[in-house]
Symmetry: C2
């Protein structure tokens, strides 16, 4: 017993297990390194020849624990270095969700070899799960659910569950709710196992069950299903097809895992990168490059527009070079204001706190906030321009520009995420770099237009001359 999450160097490393070369060493390692994240770190560093040797040390007890500690893609590689019957035994010992995740990482040939070596009912279950799209609720469901008939007594139902449970590989989550099904696995209701236990033995299941319950269809997006489980604090959510047949249940631990993955993907998108899809510690520089370079180039091309804007205002810059001093400050402030808004909105939309019909209210709220922010930032700009000694007219220009850019940025940032959702694009793509880029070029135009109106030196320039 120890408090987890403490940042300590591990007592023993899996390399010592390889040096010892005994199955007992694997057992001691699992006992000594309780933290699954630490186990995964160590295992990720092994070469495939190391894996081949470690595979020979695993037995039916330690094998599943070791495989369970690994990322799915790495586990798939590890299993492919093992003899097929041994690898199949490991897959068989995992829960269906994890087994499916690993099998999805293998090529068709490797997957088929393993499935063929499994007991046939188990293989059928896994093939069923693999047939659903990877991001659907059904792909993550536990297909082996505890069901009873509505006509049973509570006593009979408990006996049936006990009998049935002994054949089930799944963990205690699957037993929290007992589902009541009629002919053809048609879902009729749900009864918490606890209520079954507490009821009179001769009461009838139909009288104990709750006929109304939340369900999801098999093709519901995994994130929507996970958010439903979390919002309603459910232990399990039944997956039901169009004909009302119970296909399986989605459990709370799957939901927590899906929600965490989703938050990570969104964070990566918000940072202006494509989601890495593997844990950071296992991402190679080449993978990082591949995930990042596309957005960097897109943003570069978009930002290149600022060069065109500045060249268009070349005369103004040459006439009043002090205008250039404030370029980074003004576009930076616009970007920062916009980023604050988009990150908040994207997160609120991801946790389904906001709907499309809220858009007018969002814009009003953000523009009101923008006025309050603009006043303070405008004053800050007065102080900054004064300390740079650029004279009263440039000071007025800069201060008015800050206010205008803050309001403009607030407007753009508050409509962009809902607009993308409306267009069925994940609003998380509105990254901090993207909103900054959009505001940069347009903010510069605002700045120079205000400069023309307020600076007497620039009075001779007309807008008509600008973009030619």
């Amino acid at each position: 017993m120890s408090a987890p999450g403490v940042n300590q160097a591990p007592a023993i490393n899996v390399r010592q297990v390889l040096a010892a070369g005994t199955p007992e060493a694997v057992k001691s390692w699992l006992d000594a390194v309780e933290d699954v994240v630490e186990r995964a770190r160590q295992l990720a560093k092994l070469s495939s020849s190391d894996w081949h040797r470690l595979g020979e040390l695993l037995d039916s007890e330690t094998g599943p624990d070791v495989i369970d500690s690994m990322d799915a893609d790495l586990a798939a590689d590890a299993l492919e270095t093992m003899a097929v019957p041994k690898a199949a035994a490991m897959i068989d010992a995992l829960d269906s969700d994890h087994a499916t995740r690993i099998l999805r990482q293998m090529d068709d040939h490797g997957r088929d070899k393993l499935l063929t070596a499994l007991p046939s009912t188990r293989a059928d279950t896994l093939r069923g799960l693999l047939s659903w799209p990877a991001e659907s609720a059904a792909a993550h469901m536990l297909p082996e659910t505890l069901t009873v008939a509505p006509t049973m007594t509570a006593g009979d139902a408990i006996a049936a569950v006990r009998e049935h449970a002994s054949h089930l590989r799944s963990d205690s989550r699957s037993g929290a709710y007992i589902y009541v099904t009629g002919p053809g696995e048609h879902l009729l209701g749900v009864v918490p196992f606890r209520n079954l236990m507490l009821a009179q033995a001769d009461s009838v299941v139909a009288d104990l069950m709750e006929p109304e319950m939340l369900t999801v269809s098999p093709l519901t997006d995994e994130e929507v299903a996970a958010q439903t489980l979390i919002d309603h604090r459910l232990i399990a959510l039944p997956v039901v097809d169009d004909d009302g047949r119970l296909l399986g249940i989605l459990t709370e631990d799957d939901a927590a895992g899906i929600a965490e993955e989703q938050a990570t993907e969104d964070a990566e998108r918000q940072g202006g990168s494509a989601p890495l899809e593997v844990p950071y510690r296992r991402a190679s520089p080449f993978l990082l490059w591949r995930k990042r370079i596309v957005w960097l180039l897109v943003l570069f091309v978009a930002e290149a527009y600022t060069g065109t804007v500045l060249r268009a205002f070349e005369h103004e810059l040459e006439t009043v070079v002090a205008l250039a001093f404030f370029i980074p400050l003004l576009i930076g402030t616009g970007g920062n204001t916009g980023t604050q808004i988009t990150t908040t909105l994207v997160r609120a939309m991801a946790t389904s706190q906001l709907r499309l019909r809220d858009v007018p209210a969002i814009v009003v709220k953000e523009l009101s906030t923008g006025v309050l922010i603009g006043v303070v930032m405008g004053l800050a700009a007065v102080i900054r321009a004064w300390t740079l000694g650029v004279g009263p007219q440039v000071t007025v220009t800069v201060s008015l520009s800050v206010v205008a850019i803050v309001l403009w940025s607030s407007f753009v940032a508050s409509i962009l995420p809902p607009l993308l959702q409306k267009m069925r694009v994940d609003p998380a793509v509105v990254s901090a770099p993207m909103i900054a880029t959009i505001v940069d070029g347009t903010g510069l135009i605002i700045y120079f237009m205000i400069a023309r109106m307020t600076l007497p030196e620039l009075a001779g320039f007309n807008f008509g001359d600008t973009f030619v």
Copy 2:
């Protein structure tokens, strides 16, 4: 039964309930609006006089469901408009974690009034939870756990659990694991309820239990505890004091809620704002202003340094005005590169995938990636400078600057989050705006230094003249 998460206008609104003015209308509303998020939206729009009227329509059945649908601070306000005995009855019907969250939102006086009106054992339980810091594991634990003695037989233990369970208000999660305790509630082991059910009735609990298990101490940070539950896919995690006594259990639904809140706070910090602490839809413009303005001003002051840098290079800008065209593009690229890295690192650190001792590996990985990215971005800069027609020498300056800024930004972004963690500051404060601001001023210095070395027009300027 319906698929949740679908974006539909609700069938009835809580305002219609107020218009109808009957307890039955409340019941119909709860049945019609299954989505807790939608319920919360509607309830958040009520005034306190509306609340006073709604409070009178709630009964022991509908009241807890309504209160359960609300954010804690709003629920606290609502309960304060009700008569004390009625409000106490509602609190009594909620699970301890939610009841505690609501009570924490009340002032001392209001809280004491409600606690005094509760049954004394329940009040003691809630007072116990309230005595722990709000962000500790103990503050969220379920204090009523099912425990048995190690000397009991499986049959006796099941009977004891059944007897005990009928007095417990808690849900089925609390029954998944049965904890085995010795004298003084000393935690000895755990046995899944399911194993107890499947065991021979005369087998002894001590032989069935698992003596090794993960535990947390009561003052463990809630986020660390939640992450442990999720990483290990546990249903419950016992909270144990220094003497090994079982204080309560932290359950999976609490963990999912804590992890979601944490991800939201981190996203808000990453966007350069202080965490809002209330759902976005309930944040007023004044609150948003307050949470955002501090960081905006800090960043404004930091970014103001770019004005000093540009004024220092005023001669260079006057001599080669084309250099100004690339300012937003160069600092934007530096900011984007840095943002991609910090967001990925901050998230990896929040989900405890990275440790401090990984820092050298991170820097090597990010600099290698930076080289790959620099090559591509340098080529893109050549093309852009050529299309703007600024001549070969400025083109060379801009391209070299892009490469240097990408590498510099990669270095800063890869050491900053771990450095902050080392200093015990939450690395999530390294927001996209912050890394962009840091890279802006330093990137400009790099740009103008390279310009001096490559542009013959600027050959006469020395670094010694610059910052005087």
